[in-house]
Amino acid sequence: MYEQSNEKSILLDEAVRQYTICNACRHCEGFCAVWDVISLRTIIKEKDVKYFAYLCHDCRDCYYACPYSIPHEFSLNIPKINSKIRLDINKEMSIPKFLGKIYDKLNIITVSISILSFIFMITIIGLLRGINLLISPQPSFYTVIPSIYIQIGGIILGLYALTVLIYQGIVYWYEIGGDTINLLNLKSHVITLYQELSHKWFKGGGVGCDYPSYSGSYLRLFFHSLLVSGFILDFLSTVIAAFYEKILHIMPPYPFESPVVILGILGGLLLLLSSIGLLTLKRVSNKSLIDENMVQIDNWLIYLLALISISGFLLLIFRDTPFMGILLILHLSITIPLFLLAPYSKFSHFIYRYFATLKYNQEKTYFLKNRR
């Protein structure tokens, strides 16, 4: 325990060292939000570097523009130190804290949860309703698992994930020096949400991001936007499906031309395409600019979203065959860990980025108001 906190303070000290050099330079001002808020400080503290770590969207322009980057003897590597601190924040902010250990074994825990969910559902259905249900064609998903279970399960999982994530985000907000008045400032929230959804910090201030490598590019902006859109479309598809069933009393399966299926297919395609894009970029990207453990944690989310969309497509294609039951359970088994592990995985990144950006908008507004 003692040793661990020591290690952490070495990491933060190193970040303070690097950012102090940055603050004596400030050439990167304009690339992204990090450099704007550095310009508002004379001294860099430990809580500042925790704030900068998630304000950083891993754009990497600063690294390649910097005359002090490795191999210069000042040895700056801002993208890497930020990713190390991000991993540290992820673990430290986990609620309850011991679940932060999940990050160390994310893949194996995810696979275990999937397998257990799969076995659990098969067993329950087999025991209660007969195994025949899973090996013969069924008219609807809901004959395999009654809609009420899927919906209640989904709502509980979703609410749980969102609640824990927001709670963790608020703890982070106070950790980086945020206060209650600004936490409740609606205008800042609107601006922040807009900036994040429009991927404002994926543009390098107008010269693109040096991702995956040395030269300015908008590829990561493109694929990440697709990923977010795909996720939102699939979420909408699910909400509309519930609306059809509960309010309009139209029961599934829905025809191909219904909004449920169209949005679902579109969302799934976007997720699949963007996953391939992001994984390809990551594969060719400069690995010396990221913490080694963070690479796997990043990949976890991309792979999981891709698998969810693939299993969703299989389900759609084979929904009139005897495989439907098994495929439905497979699809759900892959989806469950995404939400169950959301607060303790890469999934949580958006909430910390959100609160860091909220702080940025509050600081910027304050600065502009107080300048003559």
Binding site: I21, H27, T42, P67, E73, G205, V207, Y214
Partner: protein, 467 residues
């Protein structure tokens, strides 16, 4: 590189901003261009990496600046800061063409920042580069290679192959192998000789051990020396070879390549004393941006080439904190011991300074305020504030050289001029090698890139016409 005897239209010696603007200009005119950069790829770009802005003519405030800056004002500033040690025709030419530079840069993918933000006060004369010089260099290299410039790293040009008023090629050591490269015209943009300590020693003597070379360690002036050997003249505007771009940097900075982050901007806020505990010059003479280049030269003349800037705790938040931590003490006496400065003198200097400050002045760092000392020599004309509140903080200062001014004399077409008054037919110079033509002494922030770009573009244009 393959075998030797490659033939190019234009050989560019150097790999910073001036070399790149020259190479890009010539390549855009359809010439076959090779660029020989001394440094390995990670350190390419020379001192241009350490730049951040361009000072340029704009008759009205534009998207990058807050005020107008006319040709007359720019020229006036140059004449004033150099005390007339400038080639006025060349200055006029650079100043005039500076107006087109922002457009040229943006056309070549360099992005300039809108308006002025952050903590720097440039009075609307300068436009700032997004990402600074590092981003500029990176962008230009990418552009140059895209349009076909052959870029070679680790290529040290050792000598020129000359015949009469012409140079036929260069002798280069590329990755340790000797190569001869032939070209129709040569553009030399290889920087000064500030990293060549032996050469500097001829002018500085033993003081060379106490200076810090802010610039890259690759600028050791080998091509410049080869040009002198062929009869190239130094600019007659440079009267003293010691004159160079000198600033005050932290004494703990690395000997080479520390760039600008080691600089100390606290001088206008506090006081500066030498080893004897005496103040050396007016710390508040003018806006810092007009005076920062003065201080390195001043410290060069002090005993052991060292000085200390001292502030008290009430001034700590008034400026950026430098990258190196201050030396801290709870009394002036303790501070003198920590610094190794004469105790009695320092106490005396500070108490006389404190007593000479008018009681009811209006301390304001963002303008030339009325807090000037009375009956004190040397005076502190602005921003004088008594050092009363412990702890006291000090940073040790050394003279930091960025680049030397003694380069080559050029004509308006950037052709290198010989000591016999004639110009080489096909040898052009650009960048820091030519800055001495404009600044025989003194300097104005943001002119290095402008001189480099305009001489570079001109050399590219004229050389292309020649071949």
């Amino acid at each position: 590189m393959g075998k030797g005897m490659d033939k190019y239209d234009i050989i560019v010696v150097g790999g910073g901003n001036a070399a790149l603007t020259a190479a890009i200009t010539a390549a855009e005119k359809g010439k076959r261009v090779i660029l020989l950069e001394r440094a390995p790829k990670e350190f390419r770009g020379g001192n241009s990496k350490f730049t951040r802005s361009i000072r340029y003519v704009h008759d009205t405030p534009d998207q990058y600046t807050t005020k107008e800056y006319t040709e007359e004002n720019f020229l006036k500033d140059i004449i004033e800061i150099t005390g007339g040690q400038t080639n006025i025709e060349l200055s006029k030419y650079i100043v005039k063409r500076s107006a087109e530079l922002p457009k040229w840069m943006e056309k070549h993918k360099v992005k300039l920042k809108r308006a002025v933000r952050g903590a720097f006060h440039y009075s609307g004369t300068n436009a700032f580069i997004l990402g600074g010089g590092g981003q500029l260099i990176k962008t230009y290299y990418e552009y140059a290679e895209k349009i076909g410039v052959k870029v070679v790293h680790n290529a040290t040009v050792k000598d020129f192959i000359a015949k009469d008023e012409k140079i036929d090629g260069v002798v280069a050591e590329i990755n340790g192998k000797r190569e001869i490269i032939n070209g129709e015209a040569i553009i030399v943009a290889s920087g000064g000789f500030e990293a060549n300590l032996e050469w500097l020693k001829q002018y500085l003597g033993d003081a060379v051990d106490n200076i810090i070379v802010r610039g890259v360690k690759y600028n050791d002036g080998i091509p410049l020396r080869a040009l002198y050997k062929l009869g190239a003249a130094p600019p007659d505007t440079v009267k003293n070879p010691k004159d160079a771009h000198w600033t005050a940097v932290d004494a703990r900075a690395p000997k080479f390549n520390g760039g600008f982050v080691t600089r100390i901007d606290l001088i206008p806020i506090g006081i500066v004393v030498n080893k004897k505990g005496e103040r050396i010059y007016d710390e508040g003479e003018d806006l810092w941006i007009k005076r920062y280049v003065l201080w390195g030269r001043l410290i060069l003349e002090q005993p052991d080439q060292i000085a200390y800037v001292i502030i008290d705790s009430s001034m700590l938040g008034d400026s950026l904190i430098p990258m190196y931590s201050p030396i801290k003490a709870n009394s002036i006496k303790d501070l003198s011991h920590a610094l190794g400065v004469n105790e009695d003198n320092l106490i005396n200097t500070i108490s006389r300074f404190n007593q000479s400050i008018p009681k009811n002045c209006h301390y304001n760092l963002s303008e030339l305020d009325d807090c000037g000392t009375i009956n004190l020599y040397p005076p502190k004309s602005h921003w004088a504030k008594p050092l009363l509140h412990p702890p006291f903080y000090a940073w040790p200062l050394r003279p930091g050289i960025t680049f030397t001014y003694m380069g080559v004399k050029i004509g308006l077409d950037t052709r290198v001029i010989k000591t016999n008054g004639k110009a080489f037919d096909n040898v052009f110079a650009a960048g820091e090698l030519t800055v001495g033509n404009i600044f025989g002494r003194g300097y104005l922030g943001g002119t290095g890139l402008v001189i480099g770009s305009i001489t570079g573009i001109t050399a590219g244009e004229v050389a292309s016409e020649y071949v």
